[in-house]
């Protein structure tokens, strides 16, 4: 569906207003969108192919900085310099967790809805994959893995939409509580139900597929798989935030009543945001199930529901990259807490880090980056307002 159609579907009656990045919206309709690619959105001239191409180069020149290329090169080259442990346990896990946290960043940072049920959505995707595909349990239907992935994604997205439909009835902190309650209800359901979710055991030794002879669970292939989806998710979210839907969503975050008065269907936008976040979380969930090789009630327990929030907050919710920064820090802490405070006290460490971040740096680690850059800029005497790249959020 194109962006313009989106807007029409979302806001019957608001189509005439050129509000909410309407400038972008009107032109966005000219090209196929809603596609996870880093395509430009707020362009001046588009339509003719030549102008489009020129705009493309200009957009790239304007948007892409040396540091972006550096990061891209670094993540691509990473598995060739890192040990398999660092590639798989740290890199790939951080990317998969980051994708789930990204769905929360999208919902919370840009939609103003802090949902603790994102890990539940990921867990539903994981469970569904384990049920449809092959695992060590008899419940598994042993269908082809491609079909299982598609079914898992669809079911998880539907569940995410339902969760959203439920929780948009509430606002602010109520949303946290209701999504937490939903998440824990699913945890107990998975734990107590043996016919479908196999109870406490869950699904062990879930098969990871092999494509063209390449075992996907091997460190390097899995790293690139996770990287592909993480990048796709990142660019998709970055694109969506500048598309009419994303702009309207941010408008709703800042002032739902005004948006409603402008003719935007606030509820529909919010539920749609849950659906979009659900797709991201579901992809992350399938990656996690491949990574772990198992899915059990423990993977959707309260601890993990909160961990996703910790990851998103650690990194910072003002920019999609924050989710991945947070995930890297979280995974590093998780793996090396043993050396710092001993294996047993990981929760104390992560809780303390989280508390420090929340108390002293509300924007997470990205806040440090922004502050450091501003400081450097003033030191270099080039004025403090050197093109803030992040939208002011919250």
């Amino acid at each position: 569906m194109s962006a313009a159609d989106w807007r029409k579907a979302m806001n019957p009656g608001a189509g005439r207003y050129a509000w909410a990045g309407g400038a972008a919206g009107r032109r966005a309709g000219a090209r196929p969108s809603a596609h996870p690619s880093p395509r430009p959105s707020p362009l001046r001239a588009e339509g003719e192919a030549a102008a489009g191409a020129a705009a493309w180069t200009r957009w790239i020149g304007r948007r892409v900085r040396a540091r972006h290329l550096l990061v891209l090169l670094a993540v691509l080259a990473y598995p060739w310099v890192a040990t398999p442990f660092f590639t798989f346990q740290i890199g790939a896990q951080a990317l998969a967790l980051g994708l789930i946290a990204l769905s929360l960043t999208f919902l919370a940072g840009y939609g103003g809805m802090v949902s603790l049920a994102q890990m539940t959505v990921a867990g539903i995707a994981g469970y569904m994959y384990a049920i449809f595909a092959t695992s060590g349990t008899d419940i598994s239907l042993r269908w082809p893995w491609g079909l299982a992935v598609v079914l898992a994604l669809v079911i998880a997205t539907i569940c995410a939409t339902l969760i959203g439909w439920f929780s948009v009835r509430t606002e602010g902190i109520y949303t946290i509580m209701i999504t937490l309650a939903i998440g824990v209800a699913f945890y107990y359901l998975a734990q107590q139900n043996y016919s479908l979710f196999n109870g406490f055991q869950g699904f062990q030794s879930v098969m990871t597929p092999a494509v063209a002879g390449v075992e996907l669970r091997a460190p390097i292939p899995f790293y690139y798989l996770a990287l592909f989806w993480a990048l796709a998710g990142y660019f998709f979210v970055s694109y969506l935030l500048r598309a009419p839907f994303g702009v309207a969503l941010q408008g709703i975050r800042d002032n739902p009543r005004r948006m409603s008065a402008l003719g935007f269907n606030v509820t529909a936008h919010r539920v749609a945001a849950y659906a979009v976040a659900g797709v991201l979380a579901a992809i992350g969930g399938i990656l996690m199930v491949w990574y772990n090789g198992l899915v059990s009630p423990g993977s959707v327990g309260t601890g993990w529901l909160i961990n996703i929030l910790i990851i998103a907050v650690l990194g910072g919710m003002r920019h999609p990259i924050g989710a991945f920064v947070g995930a890297v820090v979280f995974v590093l802490l998780q793996n090396f807490a043993v050396d710092l405070v001993g294996r047993e006290r990981f929760n104390l460490l992560i809780g303390g880090v989280f508390l420090v971040i929340v108390l002293f740096s509300p924007d997470g680690m990205l806040g440090w980056w922004t502050q450091a850059r501003q400081y450097l800029m003033t030191q270099l005497n080039r004025g403090p307002a050197a093109a803030p790249t992040q939208r002011r959020g919250q």
Binding site: R169, M177, A181, A185, G351
Partner: protein, 314 residues
């Protein structure tokens, strides 16, 4: 909601519920009534925890997700004191006092500085609860602790149909009812209670009227936290204390106040009864899906009355 819909939904929910009651009584009255009693005991415990939670929220708009940790803190401190002094009543008092003190420190040292920042307060309490759970686990380990209540309230009581029932649970029920009445009296008949109620309605106006709002906040927080600690000892005696109980009671009080309505003590009582009874009947009659009942109640309330049964729109 119009009268028609009230009747409609009353019938939709009431008829199957009544049918279940009749069937349960006819089928196995002992099981049915015992389950009902267990449900009420659990409800009493939930009410003790949730009433503090809802009071704090109603006044300060502060979702204290460390409330469950206060429960566990009170329980452990109570256990240590009870172990040293050999007095159960001292344990109860210590549970209340320690949690109240901790709540007071929390309010004065942390929440005072982030007034009106809902999300940040919530995140801070989440961080605190993670740390507290781990510190308590560090100190007390993973063992399960049990209290020794005085002999007078321990043992069994003979009841009609149910036959024998633990005396302590009956005492718990009575205590919870007494606390409820006391809370009602405190909120409705004392000067501080009046201030708290006024603060729930309009904080700014209360401050303008010359009341030291900070003081009212501190009192409320101390009472709310103290009730959680009290429930820790009292509930720990009825069941047991172990790591993980904090999350359990945190979630229970969340669900209870979502159902009953945020900020309403009476709502917390109604919610606690609904959830406690539903949970126990679910466990007794449909063990696999007992959680689902709780969830269905919450979903129904959210669908038809998003602010909770006795809640007011924020």
């Amino acid at each position: 909601m119009s009268r028609f819909w009230l009747w409609f939904w009353g019938l939709i929910i009431g008829v199957p519920a009544a049918a279940f009651v009749v069937w349960g009584l006819a089928d196995n009255p002992k099981l049915f009534l015992t389950t009902g009693m267990n449900g009420l005991t659990l409800a009493a415990l939930y009410f003790l925890v949730a009433s503090g939670f809802t009071l704090v929220f109603g006044l300060m708009r502060n979702v204290n997700l460390a409330h469950g940790s206060l429960y566990l803190l009170g329980a452990y401190v109570g256990y240590v004191v009870g172990d040293r002094t050999g007095s159960w009543l001292m344990a109860v008092a210590a549970g209340f006092a320690s949690a109240a003190l901790f709540g007071l420190v929390l309010q004065v040292a942390v929440f005072r500085f982030m007034h009106g920042e809902d999300l940040r307060q919530t995140l801070v309490t989440i961080g605190l609860s993670i740390m507290m759970a781990d510190i308590l686990l560090w100190i007390f380990g993973g063992e399960i602790y049990q209290f020794d209540p005085p002999r007078a309230i321990y043992g069994r009581t003979l009841l009609p149909i149910v036959e024998v029932y633990p005396t302590y649970r009956l005492v718990l029920l009575a205590m919870s009812a007494a606390i409820g009445v006391l809370l009602w009296w405190f909120l409705n008949r004392t000067r501080v209670g009046m201030m708290i109620r006024a603060g729930v309605d309009d904080r700014a106006m209360l401050s303008a009227a010359g009341v030291n709002v900070q003081f009212v906040f501190a009192i409320t927080f101390a009472i709310g936290a103290g009730l959680a600690g009290f429930a820790g000892v009292v509930g720990g005696t009825a069941l047991s204390i172990a790591p993980g109980e904090d999350t359990r009671y945190q979630l229970a009080s969340l669900v209870v106040v979502i159902v009953g309505g945020m900020g309403s003590v009476v709502g917390a009582a109604i919610g606690a009864i609904l959830i406690g009874v539903a949970e126990q009947f679910g466990l007794a009659y449909a063990p696999t899906y007992s959680v689902v009942f709780t969830f269905v109640i919450m979903a129904l309330v959210l669908a038809f009355r998003p602010q909770g049964i006795l809640g007011r729109r924020a």
